[in-house]
């Protein structure tokens, strides 16, 4: 029932947006990573649309005519989607707010800037915030973004509208966190695959609809909740973004009999774990909320230990027996970090499996073998 409702909404969403566009509403795309305050885009009356497609080898390969293979498959998928013009979202955006985070996503913004066919706002993300001026820089850029959005949309962005938007997105975060956390006691309620799909839906759906929908999902699941004992190994999945459509690994883990009970991924936990606390100055609040008060992505300075400690706590709180690290080929920050994590997890006798992929279709068999072997290690072959 619920699934149907969501499926219909998502199916109709592109035409809904086209209609809105015809009426003069702006569609504003942004990259995942959790450094772009959707609240500002929403408050301007425009529609925030997260560009996060992945998993399909075709767009990633199509981009090879523009950038070499060393640019990660996710970044290439974004370039490819816009080249192929098959996905309606990528063609309908009027503007891109590009967070300048890792070199790969930065390159996508630069390629589109070079092509010159899209309005781009580069939102500089300070890669550290130990010094006072860095947070100030980000706060200032958010103000400039607001001014630009006002001019672009023709709508005034009042403090009231921003506060309202923060409230709405905070509610979304709260609901996603609550739903996700149900898996702590009842992993069989909702598989990792289903949760990630739900999370992904929230990136393209209408926010108000999504909040309402998540609310009903939460209540429905809460009632079904029971503490069940299964012998399925409890797994934490960690990585950068999981592309919308990149469900191969999640499906393989489920088929092999593992339960992914929590994910440490960009568009997931890093988004919904902490709410934005709005104090007097809304821009300072947004800047602090997005840059400081959440688990950083691996490209941030001093992030390695912070990220490990956060992940270790999740492992303990969610009773995780094994960690699956999923990264895309050529991601230099996650790659380096995986060494650290595997040493530290190894020291604590927490099994960790490192998987790499580049969205190609040929590696499914190889991934299956590794995942199955890992599950066999976790549960012992006898059961």
């Amino acid at each position: 029932m619920q699934e149907e409702r969501l499926a219909i909404h998502l199916r109709e969403r592109p035409s809904q947006l086209k209609e809105a566009k015809n009426k003069g509403v702006k569609i504003i795309g942004y990259f995942p990573g959790n450094y772009v305050p959707e609240e500002l885009i929403y408050a301007s009356g425009a529609v925030p649309l997260c560009l996060i497609n992945g998993g399909d080898s075709q767009p990633a390969e199509a981009a090879l005519s523009v950038v070499p293979q060393v640019i990660c498959p996710f970044a290439r998928a974004q370039i490819g989607e816009r080249l192929l013009k098959e996905n309606p979202y990528y063609s309908m955006i009027d503007m891109l707010v590009a967070p300048i985070t890792c070199q790969h996503l930065k390159k996508v913004a630069e390629v589109w800037e070079y092509n010159g066919d899209l309005e781009i706002f580069k939102l500089g993300i300070p890669h550290q915030h130990n010094n006072d001026f860095e947070l100030e820089y980000f706060t200032d850029r958010l103000r400039v973004l607001k001014d630009r959005l006002q001019v672009f949309t023709g709508n005034k962005i009042t403090d009231e509208k921003i506060t309202q938007a923060i409230g709405l997105y905070n509610k979304m975060r709260e609901l996603l966190k609550n739903i996700s956390s149900l898996r702590c006691t009842s992993p069989s309620l909702l598989s990792g695959l289903d949760f990630v799909k739900l999370n992904h839906a929230s990136l393209n759906a209408d926010p108000a609809f999504m909040v309402d929908f998540l609310d009903s999902v939460y209540h429905e699941l809460k009632d079904k909740q029971q503490v069940t004992k299964t012998d399925a190994p409890r797994i934490l999945l960690i990585g950068p973004n999981i592309g919308y459509g990149d469900y191969k690994i999640l499906e393989l883990v489920k088929a092999a009999g593992g339960d992914i009970v929590i994910e440490e991924i960009c568009e997931g936990i890093r988004y919904y774990w902490n709410k934005i606390k709005s104090k007097d100055d809304l821009f300072k609040s947004l800047a602090k909320g997005y840059l400081v008060d959440r688990v950083p992505c691996a490209f941030m300075r001093y992030s390695t230990r912070k990220r490990f400690d956060f992940t270790l706590k999740l492992v303990k709180d969610f009773g995780v027996s094994g960690v699956i690290w999923y990264e895309l080929l050529c991601c230099e920050t996650y790659d380096s970090e995986s060494y650290f994590f595997s040493q530290e997890m190894g020291d604590r006798n927490i099994p960790m499996l490192i998987l790499e992929s580049d969205y190609s279709t040929v590696d499914t068999g190889q991934l299956k073998t590794r995942i199955e072997a890992f599950i066999e290690i976790l549960r012992g072959v006898m059961e």
């Binding site: 580069k122 500089g124 380096s336």
Partner: protein
Amino acid sequence: MIELLKLCGFSEQEIESELPRVGKAFNKLGITVEDIERGKQRLTKYYDVELKGVRKALRLIVRELVDALLVRDEGMKKVIYGFMAPGFDLLSSALVTKSRDVCSIHHSWAFQIVVGCIFGKIEPILEEAERKWLKAGMVAHCANLKTLVGPIVLGLYPKPDLLVTTGFLCETSPKTVDLFHELYDIPVWYVDACQDRTCGEYPEPSNRVASSTAKSLERLAERIQEVVGFEITNDMLLEVQDAKGKLNEAFGRIRGLVESSTPLPLSPAHENIWMCLNVLALSIDGITEATEAVDTLYEELQERVAKGLGVVEKEAPRVLATLPMGQTDPRLEYLACEVGIAIVATDRNLEVSIKETSEDPYMKFGIGMQLGAMHMPPAMRIPLLIEGCKKLNIDGVLDRFHVGCRAVAGDALLIENAINKELGIPVLLLEWENFDPRVYKHEEYKRRLEIFKTMMIVNRQS
């Protein structure tokens, strides 16, 4: 070893007094008698060591490496390393001018030239780093970083009091430095600036970005002051910038001569030596010495030009290469000369010119960091490349892309398409690793360079 040091510009007296130190340093590196022989052969083959200017430059480079390896042995109290850290080199020079108790080295330039280019022995260092967190193969991490990780892990660079890097165009280095902090307990610091200039904010440098870069460097200066215990004043920095400005002007004169003369008077392999000279931890006196070396070379090159001498045939096709020259291996540049191609310039030196800069040394740095083509997104880098090609009468572009450097490699295909379209000159797209000699495939590169040369000659004629 004595002959080797003579080829590197050491005087007889200097050899006598320094030989024990050099011997000790080379022992640490595991340099054998065979290596010394090979070093002499490579020096003579790949570099114009008959030119005094080249020898003087090599001397400074060898000296720095020896100092770096013996740093703790010789009781140096304060040791600071920089890596891929423009701006650090300014602070570095200010520090060593002020105090002889501070060792502040910008790794691994000297190491790469001596161990890589001269002795041809950098591969084991790279392999050591690959045993840690840096990968080999198709998704390789930049080998530049491997020449930092390898020596630290092997104990060749003793543990410093501070390790500094920047993240202007690179996430790999800061992440590695973070891992050094976590795994080896080394205090670290980062200098950063957001690369968020958009259209409308080029080509002139942005005040906003300059200001935040300046502040970031200032914080580094404060941190360094804590380590060394004395102040780095603005005047000290301005003095360094002044001296370096003169050094850069001297490079500029050589570059101008190379760009405008045929036959090509100097092999492009030497470009690496200038780049290294620019970032060595030299005191003001040292920078002056370096400037003298470059001036000496300029005179020697002028003589060559007057006599019509060069390293490639006259009227050889003129090539602009992207990226600096190979930094641990001069074979590609040597091969280009053998094949008969004159690499007259690289895009490393393509810059936007500005009328004035700031009086404040940090702002001056912040402004300067925005002028280079390699630091710009393709929307600005490519027009600069095209302009450069036109100005220098370029027949073809060697579009090298260093697979380890995501930021710079990402533009390679855009550059190829743009040059083809706007200028109609041949482009050789070469997948490459600037710091890893293992990628050099002689037969393949020779074939491709020969075809490239033919294409340029044919294109010229038509």
